[in-house]
């Protein structure tokens, strides 16, 4: 069993904050596909299309039959630990700061022998369950976990560098007025977040669920309107230095295409929340979080963006809203670049139509706010950066991968009011 992670003590104000360092990040262009799958929580290796040989590490051609037709495919996650050691010294600053560190060789059921980080509860020569995740450098790595869940397993020191577990962390949920915001708060409380700051815009307007929200353990309601630069800056001045996870639940959604709109004010409101709101949060909270990526057991670790899957390709039924979400999606990629090397992950959740009042006439299947909230917390605990949620989103992402231009054409032909 893993030693139970205790709530981190208050920070010593006389000590300098440890700056983020990174494990080795160099990868070949071929190997980036491994990191891309790892960011989705998938374990994928190259498989030779001609001889079925599974290849590790990534190569240009099959070492067995010399075929160049190598496909990235998800592989079974079983394996066996055949050799292990504990590093006690390293020339790499990142590992020097975190010694001792367990690594080992695992024979995958799929064939290859791989070098992996080893969970503390894995015994010598035992069966293991392999995960692929992005590490603090942002690149994909392998870790061997015990085959069966052990006590306090998520608290393992090495595993916790790959995840963004809310346990003992302080989280900002930017909009608590909605069901989505409130479900997210409840899921975080259940996951052991030590403090949940909840942004409430326009406190002078009553909202459903306010009493229940205020009663959740660890919740602190804070004035926050992400359409107002002053409000965002004021909150960051207060809690920016202790925001370990930021979850942007604020969104402004209205049905309608460009020509169905009379004037630009609705589109501007959408941009004010969905794009400029994100921008304001990044400018106010980003620098502090980026500087605290290695700040102990409750370091800053994740920034969560919730985006309609139509951010990938416009659906004219919600044409101008999705245009603003496309802008937000693009900005989230910019944020990923800016957070690179900080140890803070940008988690993007692409979801299908949500079960809420603005999407009420849309047919099922829809994603309930609770399901989206649970998916956020699951992604954080697992250290997953890219989440696709709901049948509609899964379908759109699949078709986007196949051919974004075909998808664009299909969405153009989608009947109004009907999710495709």
């Amino acid at each position: 069993m893993t030693e139970l992670l205790q709530r981190p003590p208050k920070k010593d104000p006389q000590k300098r904050t440890v700056l983020p360092t990174t494990p080795p990040s160099a990868r070949s262009r071929k190997a980036i596909a491994f990191s891309t799958a790892a960011a989705e929580g998938r374990l994928a290796l190259q498989t030779c299309a001609e001889c079925d040989h599974v290849i590790y590490p990534a190569r240009e051609l099959c070492p067995k039959c010399w075929s160049m037709d190598l496909q990235w495919q998800d592989i079974p996650d079983g394996g066996e630990l055949i050799a292990e050691t504990t590093l006690r010294t390293s020339v790499n600053t990142y590992f020097r700061e975190r010694m001792p560190w367990r690594i080992g060789t695992v024979r995958l059921d799929a064939g290859p022998m791989v070098l992996a980080h080893i969970h503390g509860d894995v015994g010598e020569y035992e069966r293991v369950r392999m995960i692929a995740r992005t590490d603090k450098s942002g690149q994909g790595v392998l870790m061997a976990l015990p085959e069966k869940e052990t006590a306090n397993m998520a608290d393992d020191k090495q595993l916790r560098t790959l995840t963004c577990d809310p346990k003992h962390r302080r989280v900002l949920v930017t909009d608590g007025r909605t069901q989505l915001g409130q479900c997210t708060v409840n899921a975080l409380a259940k996951a052991g977040a030590s403090k949940i700051f909840v942004g409430i815009a326009r406190e002078w307007r009553p909202y459903d669920g306010s009493a229940e929200l205020a009663a959740v353990s660890g919740v602190e309601l804070m004035p926050l309107d992400i359409t107002d630069t002053i409000s965002v800056n004021e909150l960051a001045a207060e809690i920016g230095g202790k925001t370990d996870i930021l979850i942007n639940t604020a969104e402004h959604v209205r049905p309608g295409s460009a020509m169905q709109r009379h004037g630009i004010l609705t589109a501007r409101d959408e941009m004010e929340t969905n794009y400029f709101g994100l921008m304001r949060l990044i400018q106010a909270f980003g620098p502090g979080m980026r500087g605290r990526g290695a700040d102990g057991d409750n370091s800053a670790c994740a920034w969560v963006n919730l985006l309609s899957v139509y951010a990938l390709s416009n659906w004219s039924v919600f044409g101008t809203t999705t245009a603003s979400q496309a802008a937000a999606y693009s900005l989230s990629q910019c944020l990923r670049g800016e957070f690179a090397g900080s140890g803070v992950k940008v988690v993007n959740v692409l979801f299908g139509p949500l079960e809420d009042s603005w999407r009420q006439p849309l047919p099922p299947p829809k994603v309930t706010p609770k399901r989206l909230a649970d998916a956020i917390v699951h992604a954080l605990r697992q250290g997953i950066e890219n989440v696709t949620l709901g049948p509609v989103a899964e379908d759109i992402v699949r078709r986007f991968r196949d051919d974004p231009f075909v998808l664009e054409r299909e969405l153009m032909q989608a009947p109004g009011g009907q999710a495709v």
Binding site: R202, W204, P206, D228, I230, S231, L265, D269
Partner: protein, 265 residues
Amino acid sequence: MKGEKCNTLAALATAMSSGEVETVDLTHTLDSDFPVIVLPPEFGQCAPFRAEVVSRYDERGPGWYWQNISMCEHTGTHFDAPIHWISGKDLPNASVDAIPATAFVRPVCVIDCSKECAENEDFLLTPEFIQAWEKQHGQIPAGDWVLLRSDWSRRSSAAYLNMREDGAHSPGPSADAVKFLVEERDILGFGTETVGTDAGQAAHFSPPYPAHHLFHGAGKYGLQCLRNLDQLPPTGAILVCPPLKIKNGSGSPLRVLALVERASK
């Protein structure tokens, strides 16, 4: 006659510097969190006040500070022109840029309903209440501003808008009171401390929003989100309320002042 001047302004200047005439500020600060009127979500909405720094003695402008600001014409302490309402849309000189400037400096009557509003948040000003006030303070002269003092401006945040599931609850004039002020008294305009000139429940009156419908239909003006009305006498003060000169503007945020004569010291 050339060179001769009436000495009223000189007397006023003397009275102002001696404190005999005081300037009272009836304006709320333009603050991004100050409540604005809330309409059903499918309608267009009144934009709250926003400020974005252009530069603040920094790389964007090393020696100077300035902001870009944005808001609705009806945000914060603001002026309503007749063109704001459909009933006033065809009147002449009905937008803020066309209203004669004389309207912006005029005597004001203040009807104190603060006690009644404290007891009843849906208090309605009636013709009878106005006539009872007139018994004490004299008939409201034609061409005066009339302000409803409710002390509502002392409320803040949720209590100010006082929004519930059946809508907002705040005081205002009854339809009969509006008709009386228009037809019997021919006032210049009507002002309140609440977010609008109408009562919170005025959507359910006949006609709906009587203050907007009837005052603006008769070419009268509105002022709302006023404060410090408790510092004004029932009669005798001068209201100074020039809105921004916005082309075809339906209203404008503005600084509202009152000149008040104090008992000589």
